[in-house]
């Protein structure tokens, strides 16, 4: 009986039971959106589906494309380790700056300007400049660390960069 279930379903009965329980909770929650307001529920479901599609159709290509574009190693130039290190010191602050832009874009790009001013009594005006300053700061710190490491490895304190 159990073996037949396993063969037909592809996993044990606990797997199926847990799925039923979790699916019931999710279904109940989705139902509650409709109970609270039919119009809102349709917009909410649209957002929900749009975010799944955004992951599959935007984030995934972006995630797989960017490293492909970035990982082209030049045929000539300094040794791979030094090249990687220099590139890394540009890449990390760029990634962190992009993260800050992603999270705070309503303020930085002033998308929420009207509501923010009306509710908080503040303007979104300083945020673009603050983000630019943060970005410059990130690149500056990264560049400084790169410089220190380059000088130290140049003096032979950190032989790791001379390997390979």
């Amino acid at each position: 009986m159990l073996t037949r279930f396993r063969r037909a379903y592809g996993a044990g009965p606990l797997h199926a039971l847990l799925f039923v329980v979790c699916a019931a909770v999710a279904a109940l929650a989705i139902r509650r959106w409709f109970d609270v307001g039919g119009h809102d529920a349709r917009v909410i479901i649209t957002w929900f589906v749009a975010l799944i599609l955004a992951h599959d159709l935007v984030l995934v290509p972006l995630y797989s494309l960017i490293p492909r574009l970035l990982s082209r190693t030049p045929a000539r130039g300094p040794g791979p380790a030094r090249y990687h290190r220099a590139r890394l010191h540009l890449r990390i602050p760029a990634l962190l700056s992009a993260l800050l832009l992603l999270v705070w874009s309503p303020l930085i790009l002033r998308a929420s300007h009207g509501d923010f001013a009306a509710r908080a009594g503040l303007t979104t005006h300083p945020y673009l400049a603050r983000w630019v300053i943060a970005t410059v700061g990130l690149f500056a710190v990264s560049g400084l660390v790169w410089l220190v490491r380059a000088v130290r490895s140049g003096r032979g304190h950190a032989p790791a960069t001379r390997r390979s």
């Binding site: 996993a11 609270v36 809102d40 992951h55 929420s112």
Partner: protein, 427 residues
């Protein structure tokens, strides 16, 4: 029965050779998964606690919701410690922000799984893949709506509270299923692949994870040369989490730390002077006719009899001063010195010796929080005030002049501003 798709994976992302990053592998995914397994429960628990903090069973506090089976009610929200909601909601938003880069990295690490071949192996495999749609959709929905809401960006066009609350149930249901299926893999991977060893490798020593003792479809078969070590990747994710953590923590802790939250919505003081602290809803945006808060204003206090009190009469009653926080659902807090009349004293004036629940109404008409009900414990707390002054100065219009409620430990919007009436019930 024959499967409706070819046995061999078609070209492109469905082939394991398509995915070339040497960093991807079960160890990396397990590390991100373990980090999320710490942060997501904190976010979920504090989120559900926030729902409890609104005392949704009282009056119209559930703002239009008819409570159903998912709206469980654990306890009446306490008033002590007075910073309780500042802490729980500060954690919710701050840990939520810090989790974003970890979540993005985790999603990146498992992309090849999206293109598994064959796409469906069995009914069990089918329900796993369906649950992943809800996991990704639920995570996206909760994080995106949360991040937009704390910045007053209402482009989503639906009422945030219900959407975020029931969305949390969808996400948690999918997450419980996912963790139940993957937990043993994560533990085994971290045990067999040694927790920190892969961090020792610099970029030139970075190789794909070993396919022994157990292969994984996350390990690339045709890896590209590494452009980054695992150490650098984890360091970048940790740095991103750290920067966002500081943004949230600065807004939540306030004081001199607020300056650190330079990109967060409440990272600075809007005004100068004793009323200079953060505002959730300005007077101008509340839609109140200025004439209503002028000389003619008086507070209606309903009990066994109706009492009307002008601001002068209220100021002539015994005054008490307490340091109490305003803790917003958006994650920011600010602690100030409030002076005013004890709610329990006002109940006695209206003929209610032992007050039970209280309902306070604002002059603000359009807000879903215009009428709030408070529990017996909240009314009985000696620091529960009808505040008339803050930091020694009369309340400004933006902070609720002529009078507002301040309840220790309650969510910010329950500190009703521009108060019109109080209705006490007997215990």
């Amino acid at each position: 029965m024959r499967a409706p798709w070819p046995h061999d994976a078609p070209a492109g992302p469905f082939r394991r050779t398509f995915w070339r990053s040497p960093l991807r592998g079960p160890w990396l995914t397990a590390v991100f998964g373990a980090a999320l397994l710490v942060t997501l429960p904190v976010i979920a628990v504090t989120g559900f606690l926030s729902n409890a903090a609104y005392n949704p069973r009282l009056g119209d506090n559930a703002v239009g919701r008819h409570l159903g089976p998912l709206d469980f009610y654990l306890f009446s929200w306490p008033t002590r410690p007075s910073w309780l909601y500042a802490l729980t909601q500060g954690l919710h938003v701050t840990i939520g922000l810090a989790t974003i880069p970890i979540l993005l990295a985790k999603l990146w690490s498992v992309i090849p799984r999206l293109f598994e071949w064959p796409p469906l192996r069995s009914p069990a495999h089918a329900v796993e893949r369906i649950s992943l749609a809800f996991l990704v959709g639920g995570a996206g929905f909760e994080f995106v709506t949360g991040v937009l809401n704390i910045q007053d960006d209402y482009t989503f066009g639906f009422f945030f509270t219900d959407a975020h609350y029931y969305g949390a149930w969808v996400f948690v249901a999918a997450l419980v299923f996912h963790v139940a299926l993957k937990f043993s893999t994560m533990r085994r991977t971290l045990a067999t692949r040694r927790l920190l060893a892969p961090l020792r490798d610099g970029v030139t020593q970075t190789l794909p994870e070993p396919r022994e003792p157990e292969d994984s479809d996350l390990i690339p078969l045709a890896p590209a040369a590494p452009s980054m070590s695992r150490r650098a990747l984890l360091g970048t994710v940790a740095a991103g989490a750290g920067i966002l953590l500081i943004q949230g923590a600065g807004e939540s802790a306030g004081g001199p730390l607020r300056e650190l939250a330079f990109l967060a919505p409440r990272g600075r003081n809007p005004f100068r002077g004793p009323n200079g602290f953060q505002v959730n809803q300005t007077f101008a945006n509340a839609g109140i006719d200025p004439g209503q808060v002028g000389r003619a204003w008086n507070l209606r206090v309903h009990g066994t009899r109706l009492v009307r009190l002008t601001r002068e009469e209220l100021l002539a009653l015994p005054q008490h001063t307490y340091e109490l926080p305003i803790a917003c659902v958006e994650g920011w807090s600010t602690t100030q010195r409030w002076t005013g009349v004890r709610l329990a004293d006002l109940a006695r004036l209206a003929g209610v010796e032992r007050p039970g629940e209280l309902t306070g109404s604002s002059l603000e008409q359009d807000s879903v929080y215009a009428e709030i009900s408070y529990s017996e414990d909240q009314v009985a707390d000696p620091a529960a005030l009808l505040a008339l002054k803050v930091n020694g100065a009369p309340l400004s219009l933006d902070h609720g002049y002529p009078a507002r409620i301040i309840i220790p430990g309650a969510p910010g919007v329950h500190n009703t501003k521009w108060l019109a009436a109080l209705a006490f019930r007997r215990s």
